[in-house]
Symmetry: C2
Subunit: 187 residues, 2 copies
């Protein structure tokens, strides 16, 4: 992938996160990225395509980062599950954290027929399915249920951390997760 294309993707992701997707025009994106509209439209056939690629890259980066962190930490499934929220906290506090893009995207494009909305929903579901697998490996009977609960906590905490920074959302989400995981493991 061309350097410029990467730069555009990164700048767009940043602007979408700080100003919102609909409120960010392509003129702003190319200005910040230090290029022109012609080049942008040579790499992305439309703004919608650009948005979709930003979402895809963001989700991929996050999933890769998380699963690598988890497998580096331990081979034992229950250890992984227990360490999950520590890594989520690390992710939120990492310098170039740009939110969970699909959360905002689905809010800005609420119609189910919309391609951006559908991709967001898929990513949200994929993340939950990943959590479900973690829980299953750890021997949780109702791993589907637990994964849903954990994803609610995480998505809620992301949202809250964005709305009221420094509210300690992650910290309390972590405590809640511990209680839920303990409960799910013993039954």
């Amino acid at each position: 992938m061309s350097l410029l294309k990467q730069k555009i993707l990164h700048v767009a992701s940043d602007l979408f996160h700080t100003r919102g997707i609909n409120s960010t025009g392509v003129d702003t994106i190319v200005a910040v990225a230090g290029t022109t509209k012609m080049t942008l439209y040579k790499h992305f056939t439309s703004k919608e395509i650009l948005i979709l690629e930003v979402l895809r890259k963001g989700h991929q980066d996050f999933q890769l980062w998380l699963s690598e962190k988890l497998s580096n930490h331990s081979k034992k499934p229950t250890e992984k599950l227990r360490k999950l929220f520590d890594f989520m906290e690390e992710w939120v506090n990492s310098p170039d954290y740009q939110g969970m893009a699909f959360l905002k995207a689905s809010a800005e494009f609420p119609e189910e027929s919309n391609a951006i909305h559908r991709l967001s929903a898929e990513q949200s579901e994929a993340f939950r399915a990943y959590l479900s697998l973690l829980a299953k490996d750890a021997g949780v009977a109702d791993h589907e249920g637990l994964s849903l609960q954990l994803s609610l906590l995480i998505e809620g905490a992301m949202q809250a951390e964005h709305m009221r920074r420094g509210s300690g959302s992650i910290k309390y989400a972590k405590k809640a997760a511990k209680i839920l995981i303990d409960d799910a493991l013993k039954s």
Copy 2:
């Protein structure tokens, strides 16, 4: 308040919810409400003011509805706390449910300097404070912590229910809430 003004507020709230705020033009609002732009701008000096009033009304309606339901149900604080998620479920399934507006609004207007964003953050915090009061009355020591956790679950569930309808988010949020409340009450 004039009937037309109410109608405009209601239609705007509905359109904001189904199509998004930024994607809904004032032309569309007046067309659906069966009136004209002149009338709209006589009642609301700008689109931003309209958005703010929609948010205020939505939040007020919800808070009134919930606190009334809770006090009608029982006078005992612990009973109220335990019944909370049942009413949340009822709210989500009610015919004219239009989401928790402040969640989406804060996503569409992410800048902290923005008036809409600030109101959203205030409402989110007000809701959490209300939950904290419920928990405190029920004798929960760390009522601030529990209220934060419950609000994460609720906001996460609202978001999820909007993204993947019929995912059973509320049902599992309710189970999680029960576990967290039990844990908080016994310690």
